[in-house]
Symmetry: C2
Amino acid sequence: MEDYQLCPKFENAFELLGKRWTGLIVHVLLSGPKRFKDISVLIPSMSDRMLSERFKELEAAEIIIRHVYPETPVRIEYELTPKGKGLKPVMDELQKWADSH
Amino acid sequence: MEDYQLCPKFENAFELLGKRWTGLIVHVLLSGPKRFKDISVLIPSMSDRMLSERFKELEAAEIIIRHVYPETPVRIEYELTPKGKGLKPVMDELQKWADSH
DNA sequence: TAATATACTAACATAAAGTAAGTTGTTAAA
DNA sequence: TTTAACAACTTACTTTATGTTAGTATATTA
């Protein structure tokens, strides 16, 4: 059974953003690349387990890239791809809505 | 432990829209009031159980209103409140993003 | 009288998320 | 030179959310 009535792309978008934490992670990454710990501090109610899982999904969806800097100790940063940065207008509108209601 | 770092309103928005089906329900209601059955046909992969639950949450959040028309048989319609309709720009931007990626 | 329709609800199974602790590899402090 | 600390995770287990199937109440139609 398929829901041919709605735009599949739109539904796919919600399959991602309709998962808990995904939106907030994208939101904080819009202010620049962040490390694992940075985000877990910015969103303390989210567990490491979830952050790790969401990172993998977002990477697979090509919304973020994982950078490994071979320093000592190694530094790992997560950054939005152009596709990920394309969500800024969505987030901006949501911010406006949240502020006005 | 609280996440004082982020805008609470923004987080609240995601608590709602970050739940499965919520976004799609709002999206289809943007084209006008609908009955229970209408939406379950438009989003067939969602179960009645979930639609019922999401309706209650959206009503509690004052994003939709439930209208009961005492006809025979009774007709029940769900409509976006002004607050709910305020989500249109968010949905429009998300649609654009979905189309272009 | 049986079948169909709407708008749900209930009971149970499975999947997703939460919680707490552990791992690896490195540095810094005692 | 053990001991502790930190980053970036992973694992095991519990709880919550969602999915599945069936059923309810009320009314209309065949």
